[in-house]
């Protein structure tokens, strides 16, 4: 099978190269080396039978003396795996001789290699562009894009209590990266490489969250097991087998619920950028901050913005320091004149419209606001504004009066909302980064409720029908709420008109 959308990858850490790499770590023990040797045993491939995992990523070349030994040692595994219908991707890292590594991979029958710098020309084997998120080759002609520095998701557990000034705890998530990737490389599978933190005491929920934090956002985590889990599976312990089953059941769950992968993200705000330097950090920060402010958003690549629909948007945060070309500027200004609010950097040349005199109580705002047609053009006052305060001010200027969706009682949760092209179906994905059920049921509010709603989660045996409760607050009206069953890691509300 060709590497692509259908591939469900797993990092198969085994052999001399991985041992050599781990020997550099301070926690290295002979037991770890033994575990890595054991995972060369083709019989362990039995743990993949009946699971969605169909592609194994193996260490192939690192420019170390052990490269050839590694490639040789993998042969039985490759042979057995191919017989079982598995694809293999060889990871080529560091100062490895890429030409030799590719030749060896072809000769060994690998399905692809993954490497950071993709050599030009046809190498006779698919190459997965594999890079840090900041250097990702979003336009690469690669069957899959690999991001080598994904985040291990969760609530960071530093020594001191952490959290944003929202008083919601901070969460580490790959959601921003994947939202960005989908805008910059639409339709392209994105693999997130992130290993479990060394020396951490992991529970199965850690794995489940990492699967969900990538799959829900349309990406793939290249499953990577810690030493303990690998040892447990090699020893066929019941505990490890049960944990592994939960992980693969969750993979299967996402495979079965892939329909929403084609849905569009919903939000009244769009973040528009090419997410390239010098704007990448600010843009990615904004995508991280907005969920913590409970502001649903979509992402529009500046390159693709002329073709993008602005329907349903109330605001656009134009991130890039480089002004848009004249056609895009015309489109953006037309959006404002029709009633939208456009937020632009301080360097926006010759701002259109007329300055609105803000009250002294609004002096803190990071934007000067200009009236233009029925809408507003908000021009940043500073060249390098704080990303969190920028997002707060964007939300404040847009006003909560138009909130399309909200999440209550999910301090450690993020959510995002998608709808089908015709709007007949919608889904709200909710991820729980605390990895344990909350003390209160999370509540989802929608300004425009659907006719029916049900809650699905791999943690419950069958979907649960949900009842809309009209907002009883005596006030804005129109919205309704759903009370979600409690869950540890992931749940989704599937809705239909």
């Amino acid at each position: 099978m060709a590497i692509g959308q259908q591939s469900v990858p797993m990092r198969w850490t085994a052999g001399p190269l991985d041992i050599a790499r781990r020997q550099k770590e301070k926690d290295f023990t002979p037991e770890i080396a033994e575990g890595l040797r054991k995972w060369l045993d083709p019989s362990l491939l039995a743990s993949l039978q009946g699971t969605p995992v169909n592609c194994l990523v193996v260490s192939w070349a690192s420019g170390l003396p052990t490269d050839a030994e590694q490639q040789q040692a993998l042969q039985p595994l490759l042979q057995k795996g191919r017989q079982a219908g598995l694809d293999f991707v060889g990871l080529v890292e560091g100062p490895a001789d890429k030409t030799a590594a590719v030749a060896a991979a072809r000769s060994a029958g690998l399905s692809a290699v993954a490497m950071e710098a993709v050599p030009p020309g046809n190498l006779g084997i698919p190459v997965i562009a594999w890079a840090k998120s900041g250097q990702a080759l979003w336009g690469a002609a690669s069957p899959v894009l690999g991001v080598s520095d994904g985040l291990w998701p969760g609530v960071p557990q530093e020594k001191t209590p952490t959290g944003g000034p929202t008083n919601l705890p901070w969460v580490d998530s790959n959601g921003a990266l994947l939202a960005m990737a989908q805008a910059l490389a639409p339709g392209k599978p994105v693999w997130i490489f992130v290993n479990p933190p060394l020396q951490a005491k992991l529970t199965v929920e850690n794995y489940l969250l990492t699967v969900a934090d990538t799959a829900a956002y349309g990406g793939r985590w290249v499953i990577s097991l810690d030493d303990q889990m690998r040892a447990g599976l090699a020893a066929k312990t019941a505990q490890a087998a049960a944990a592994w089953k939960k992980v693969t059941d969750l993979l299967a769950f996402f495979e079965q619920n892939k329909a929403s992968g084609t849905y569009q993200r919903m939000g009244r705000l769009a973040v528009m950028s090419n997410f390239s330097e010098p704007d990448r950090v600010f843009g990615e920060d904004a995508l991280n901050m907005l969920p913590r402010l409970r502001e649903p958003f979509r992402v529009i690549s500046r390159t693709h913005a002329l073709a993008a629909s602005f329907d349903g948007l109330q605001g656009i945060l134009y991130v890039d320091q480089e002004p848009p070309d004249s056609k895009l500027r015309q489109k953006l200004i037309a959006f404002v004149k029709a009633g939208g609010t456009l937020f632009v950097p301080s360097k926006w040349p010759d701002p259109e419209g007329s300055q609105i005199q803000l009250s002294s109580a609004e002096a803190y705002l990071l934007f000067n606001v200009r009236a233009l047609g029925k809408g507003r053009l908000a021009v940043a006052r500073e060249d390098k504004p704080d990303s969190y305060f920028t997002c707060m001010d964007v939300q404040n200027i847009l006003s909560h009066r138009g909130d399309p969706a909200r999440l209550y009682n999910g301090a450690s949760m993020n959510y995002f909302y998608q709808a089908s092209a015709q709007g007949r179906q919608g889904v709200i994905h909710v991820l729980n980064y605390s990895r344990r059920p909350g003390s209160d049921n999370a509540l989802i509010y929608l300004k425009t409720p659907y006719r029916s709603a049900r809650f699905v989660s791999p943690e419950i045996p069958s979907p649960v029908a949900l009842q809309w409760a009209p907002q009883t607050s005596p006030y804005e009206g129109g919205g309704a709420e759903l009370s979600l069953p409690r869950f540890s890691v992931y749940g989704a509300v599937q809705m239909e008109t």
């Binding site: 840090k132 998120s133 900041g134 520095d149 960071p156 530093e158 001191t160 209590p161 952490t162 959290g163 944003g164 000034p165 929202t166 008083n167 919601l168 901070w170 950090v281 990615e284 920060d285 991280n288 901050m289 409970r294 009250s359 002294s360 109580a361 002096a363 803190y364 704080d386 990303s387 969190y388 305060f389 707060m392 404040n396 006003s399 909560h400 009066r401 909130d403 909200r406 999440l407 209550y408 009682n409 999910g410 301090a411 909350g438 003390s439 209160d440 049921n441 509540l443 509010y445 409760a469 907002q471 009883t472 607050s473 005596p474 006030y475 804005e476 009206g477 919205g479 709420e481 009370s483």
Partner: protein, 408 residues
């Protein structure tokens, strides 16, 4: 990704530990420093008049009930006619964290109908201008925006009387400078406080609070409501070191609860830098100081619908949304809180070690010692519905929840 110092990383490193602190009430029984620098103030503490009314919900009975109660206090006109009235409401905590399905206004926040009714009656009594004030958690958003985030209609409050406006007092707001309020007698922890101009630019000050317990101070009523007058730009985690920050960031826990950091140097500093770090020692004194420095002329406590167990949703505590159906109003915050505590089933003369003050000193005691008012209902004039008829036993609700939790 890691070669940049992202905002996310910055937040993770320095963020509002205050919020986390708030979630960890002290359970210590540290010795209470006895420190009343001005015992003569206690002798001058005025008695007050407090009224109790029954009202089952926020519907049509609310306005006549509240009007009758305020008449029982002597009528609003004498107090507010031709005056600028500031009404400090209560929008505590994180707005996205409810108690189960219950809305914020039915549990932890001042209810919009209660605010609107109060505003309406102030307008009817001839108030020249009515300013609704609050410093909601860590934000410079307008109060309209905070209300809209809960689907309220701020227009209902703005139109409840002529000349109504809102101000978020977490920062400088519409003022040109902060106003300084000194604590009579020199203070217990701080000699004074710098507040948003709104607390000075008013003739009458009203504390419109909610009837609640508090994880640290035992109860949070009309006295504790005034704690929220302190601007985050000076007393928050992200306050400026020398001068106030431009915009609020973080909570007040670092300065007030834990004494972990000082307020901006532009404001009065702690009298004794080595003063206790025990929030159960600090908070009651600070709250009392604020009440003495910026006394309220009128206290109104919304106990129609509220929550037991704590001032906001802590998740791990036995809490419930309840419907005591009661309003308490009075002419000073200490007297009003004393009656409110009695209605909640607590002894207003209790102190550290006795519920609800299991981990803190009594805020009411310090209020009395600083001359704000008298906490013993017997030393005040209590009118309206007798306390016994309005009793709603908060501790019993907690015990019931714990019993039911044990069963399951």
């Amino acid at each position: 990704m890691k070669n940049h110092f992202t905002r996310r990383e910055w937040l993770a490193g320095t963020g509002a530990a205050a919020g986390c602190l708030l979630l960890r009430p002290s359970l210590s029984f540290a010795a209470t420093p006895l420190s009343n620098p001005a015992p003569s103030l206690a002798a001058k503490a005025p008695s007050g008049r407090v009224t109790v009314g029954r009202c089952k919900d926020y519907g049509s009975d609310l306005l006549p009930t509240l009007e009758k109660m305020l008449d029982q206090l002597g009528g609003l006109s004498k107090l507010v006619k031709g005056k600028t009235v500031a009404v400090k409401v209560n929008f505590i905590g994180v707005r996205w964290q409810r108690l189960g399905n219950a809305t914020m206004e039915d549990t932890f926040w001042s209810h919009p109908n209660m605010i609107a009714a109060t505003v309406h009656l102030l307008g009817k009594a001839g108030a020249r201008q009515i300013r609704v004030l609050e410093g909601p958690w860590s934000t410079a958003e307008t109060l309209e925006e905070v209300m809209l985030s809960q689907d309220w209609r701020p227009e209902d409050i703005l139109r409840a009387a002529p000349n109504v406006e809102f101000e978020n007092t977490n920062y400088l707001g519409r003022g040109k400078k902060y106003s300084r309020f000194m604590v009579p007698g020199g203070g217990l922890v701080f000699p004074g406080y710098d507040l948003n101009h709104s607390y000075e630019d008013c003739d009458v000050f009203v504390s419109l609070a909610k009837l609640k317990e508090h994880a640290v101070t035992g109860v949070t009523l009309s006295m504790k409501n005034i704690y929220g007058t302190t601007p985050i730009t000076i007393y928050g985690e992200g306050a400026g070191i020398d001068e106030p920050a431009i915009r609020p960031q973080g909570g007040r826990g670092g300065v007030f609860h834990a004494g972990r950091r000082a307020p901006s140097k532009s404001a009065p500093q702690q009298i004794d830098p080595s003063f206790s770090k025990d929030q159960g020692v600090r908070l009651p004194r600070i709250v009392a100081e604020l009440n003495a420095a910026r006394p309220a002329h009128l206290a109104i406590i919304d106990g129609i619908r509220t929550a037991t167990g704590a001032e906001t949703n802590y998740g791990s505590r036995p809490q419930a949304a309840v419907n005591p159906g009661v309003i308490i109003a009075g002419t000073n915050t200490v007297a009003t809180d004393g009656v409110a505590m009695s209605i909640m089933g607590f002894n207003p003369l209790a102190d550290r070690g006795t519920p609800p003050f299991t981990g803190a000193d009594s805020t009411l005691r310090f209020g009395e010692e600083l001359g704000v008012g008298l906490r013993d209902p017997a030393r005040n004039e209590v009118v309206g519905v007798p306390i016994a008829q309005a009793l709603f036993d908060f501790a019993a609700v907690r015990e019931r929840i714990l019993r039911e939790a044990k069963k399951t």
